[in-house]
Symmetry: C2
Subunit: 332 residues, 2 copies
């Protein structure tokens, strides 16, 4: 019996690859082949938490050259090492965006909104997918009753308005963290900013909320802000950054927003400070507390920047944590 060895396996693969590259395919069919498909599957995935439906709806992702200071307290080599360990590309960073939709049976709720429809064209369809995927998932934006915002960075709020500045969810109440609203709408805070990036973040928040005439409902932390949805202070990433426990029928999921960015870097290395963590030490303390809790409670986490469908459990791994993606269920 012939058996696998690495040498004959790879020799075979190399030969196959060379054959494909260099010579006409010997056994091409006489008839034309089926054209190669050009589309990806619609980016949504649905699961139940008690009687609630949760639909993870990807807004796509952003891939960019890894900045030297992407992690302000780690060397680029260390970041590259973590990327390679996760089988991601060296010197490049990819950040997925995954808002969710909760249907409680009584309310249709969107949590965070993605990078906005204007980004769909700008990114050639790589980002800004939320509204297309929402529709594909079977929900009409006009049926959305409530939009809950975790914090005011652009990838979470830009989807609140259409490219023409009108509301993306015309029939929805918009709820924002009171602490975040106070901070970002404070002109003194805005005028204090020295970095171009933070000036841009402030300008972005004004653009969105001014378009909405600042007609939003401010919510407090530690309270049930909608049926079964309790807000939790997870400050640090921004001054008012907020997460949620969604509970129904004795089941829960923790919606973490940006407690970590991509888990391959920041769950694995909770001590790393991403350059967009506005209060890095506080963000780290929050991250460690939340992740220790997720481990102890074996609580499912929905992570905005986790790889789609962005729902996982968490376990300790070395000096950090590792996510265990929830097994895809092919039925509801």
């Amino acid at each position: 019996m012939k058996h696998l060895t690495r040498r004959n396996l790879l020799a075979g693969a190399a030969a196959a690859s060379a054959a494909t590259a260099l010579t006409p395919v010997a056994n091409s069919p006489a008839s034309a082949a089926a054209p190669q498909a050009t589309t990806q599957a619609p980016g949504w995935y649905r699961y139940k938490v008690g009687s609630y439906d949760i639909t993870a709806v990807t807004d796509g992702r952003n891939t960019f050259k890894l900045p030297d200071t992407f992690v302000i307290n780690a060397k680029k080599d260390q970041v590259n090492e973590a990327l390679l360990a996760a089988h991601m590309e060296k010197d490049m960073m990819t950040i997925p965006y995954t808002p969710i939709v909760i249907n409680t049976g009584a309310k249709l709720i969107v949590m965070d909104t993605g990078t906005g429809e204007a980004n769909f064209e700008r990114s050639k369809g790589v980002g800004g997918q939320f509204f297309n995927n929402l529709k594909a998932s079977g929900y009409d934006r006009n049926a959305v009753d409530l939009v809950i915002i975790s914090h005011f960075h652009g990838d979470h709020i830009n989807g609140l308005i259409k490219p023409d500045g009108s509301p993306s969810f015309p029939n929805a109440e918009i709820m924002v963290p009171a602490v975040e609203m106070k901070y970002f709408m404070d002109d003194a805070e805005m005028n204090k900013q020295t970095s171009e990036r933070m000036k841009g973040v402030f300008a972005g928040t004004r653009k969105v909320f001014d378009a909405l005439k600042r007609k939003v409902t401010q919510y407090e932390v530690g309270k049930e802000i909608a049926p079964g949805i309790t807000s939790v202070a997870t400050y640090g990433h921004t001054p008012g950054h907020t997460s949620y426990v969604v509970a129904s029928g004795g089941k829960t999921v923790y919606v973490q927003a940006d407690v970590t960015n991509h888990p391959a870097l920041f769950a694995r290395n909770p001590g790393w400070h991403a350059f967009f963590d506005q209060i890095p030490d506080m963000a780290e303390a929050t991250r460690r507390k939340v992740y220790d809790m997720l481990v102890v409670e074996k609580m499912m986490v929905q992570g905005f920047h986790y790889p789609f469908p962005s729902v996982a459990y968490v376990e300790k791994a070395g000096s950090g944590y590792r996510e265990i993606p929830v097994m895809w269920n092919a039925t509801l």
Copy 2:
């Protein structure tokens, strides 16, 4: 500033849960809410290997009470421990099925076929989904040029025929491992079987291949059996069990078929013998060789029984291996 503690978080969550369960929702909207969606996303996912399109197409899954002897050389308690570590349910087993479709640009190729359309009704849509999802992915079963079979267990071959016994892929050549064909079509081997299960496996192979009048092409291992697709002997799970290296443009994916069943049990514990491994010691030796190779070569693996979309990298973990799912790409 209020801050997260586990106590106040969980008190909040418990209160939310209790409130939802026991009291009418205070802030229900006056208007009817959007009806809860009843469908799951179509179960297919597409990625490129060089110039080849690969589409993972789920056939669904099977969930059943964990048999006492599911792993013949481990105690049920140990298996339960591994299930719980993977955040799966204790005393239950779930096995996903994921055939793939390869479009080389010249040929449309299906690898393994799932549990068959008759199983869709039998399982109430939980399994037997392959043909629905194939269609949703944009491919017509009539356009399939070639079906490649890894081994003759029912979840891999039953989809070759329709419930009425006619071919599921009327225009496709069907390629099967010569070693597997010889073994399963040998009446002496069939008559040797003593277990009801193995008698059933043999009967199942006759049912399928007799319906096809045994009109199949037998392929040898270690050869390029279709453009860029090299067969590799991975005997043990069955006597002729075969895997593949798919190579295009210098990129590769290893299509492992059943070198492991669910990775949470059998990649993590390569020494465990699933009761359906026909030659357990050989299956284990194959598993260790293949997985050591996947780790060293950092080669992507497509696993028939991996959680959808069933494509991952592999790393060493303790005395076994751990899969790192490939990050979902929301564009092609």
